[in-house]
Symmetry: C2
Subunit: 244 residues, 2 copies
Amino acid sequence: MLTRSAPAEILIRRLHRSTGLDETELADLRTLPATIRELGKNETISREGDRVHHCVLIVDGFLARFLDTREGKRQILSFYVPGDIPDLQSLHLPTMDHSLGSIAPSKIAMIPHKALADLSDRNPRIASALWRETLIDGSITRRWVRCLGRLNARQRVAHMLCELYVRLDAVGLADQPIRLMTQQDIGDAMGLTVVQINRTLRDLRSEELITIEKRHLTIVHRERLQKIAEFDPFYLHLDPEARH
Amino acid sequence: MLTRSAPAEILIRRLHRSTGLDETELADLRTLPATIRELGKNETISREGDRVHHCVLIVDGFLARFLDTREGKRQILSFYVPGDIPDLQSLHLPTMDHSLGSIAPSKIAMIPHKALADLSDRNPRIASALWRETLIDGSITRRWVRCLGRLNARQRVAHMLCELYVRLDAVGLADQPIRLMTQQDIGDAMGLTVVQINRTLRDLRSEELITIEKRHLTIVHRERLQKIAEFDPFYLHLDPEARH
DNA sequence: CGCCAGGTTGAAGTTCCTCAAAATTTGTGG
DNA sequence: CCACAAATTTTGAGGAACTTCAACCTGGCG
């Protein structure tokens, strides 16, 4: 059970923020059964083609969805932060069309599909909130398409950092410097090589737009970075009432 | 009303194929009100930031979702073919986070959100079928991320052509040569310039993998083209029971 | 028949990749 | 807490893939 457990509270806080539903309406989430799992770095949770029976709620760490190419190159499709449920789509499409794994030591709660489906049937508001989360995930993926298709390395990296900051900030994790994933992971996400990521980060640092100390990122000039990246957080739909 | 109209039948056939629901279960779709609209080439239906109140069902033609960059570059996020509802997400996220427009003369049916929402409430099977469509759309977008991030021009174009073929085939429109969008549109979709698209298509033609006559595409060697593109149609989730 | 969107080609330039090596950081066991 | 191995970051040099610019075709349509 998630009763008063950290996972339940994370999810409630998250859905409260994204949908505006109050705690009473979301209290049902505490009835969800869940198995906690601790993961090291680079552990795969599910693979393309797998049939899965649980959804994953991130309690701590970073996960990523990814696809591989024949020559062993990896493309990360999306990063996920605490409070995210990266494989919510598996509730309706249980055969994975991509893989899911950790890119940092992480803690996850595995929630059986059946429990989530039953809860959704009982509680249409929660069903709707989960719907919404999945659609926002789609919006993020579409931004990445634009990012990969039309921005250069500098803009892509800047965009990724802006998005990461805003998403972490939304769950209260951007107060201190942000622990970054490896440059290889950033490259796999932005469709670039590690070398290029390294040079781009060096340039952003030398312009004093960001600092990185012991792998921890601080954004020094958020406005300038956002301008470089053409970043507008609207696509994250963080404010349920926002009208652009 | 969509009663026995072409739009209703297109949607019923489409959802029948993708979900396995039979005609009786989907008959309710005929009660949906709809306004038919004819579009020329390159007409915008809705823009990033717009608040919309209808979903669009494609009856004939091609639509595309897209995002622009500051310098006026356009990134197409996805192509849509007859039977698709490209903006189903607007039912839950009514403020557009991207734009939608035609890339060929097209015929669309505009269905009011309210009617679709009411029908979904009344008929959970249809609700679920629509859910599924949206999730498949997400799967397609994720493939495009991999395509843009990790494939070269040749592979990207091959992938796009394979996907277009299979999606059109699924609605019975791939028997004759396929009327292509402009090379500019293909470039905007694959994150490449027109020039590069032109050269890539020329190469694919000279290898006799495809032929293009009067802008109509025929895939001569589908297997070889799929191999080049690393194309596996599973991600389209066309067969509701497929397990990879 | 002539206009114009769209297709085609060449040449030069840029961005990013590849390969390779070295420096630094992180993690682990003693 | 140190020493060592492994992982990650950093830098350089050369090359490939794609872009940019600019011109010239082509075919469908009024």
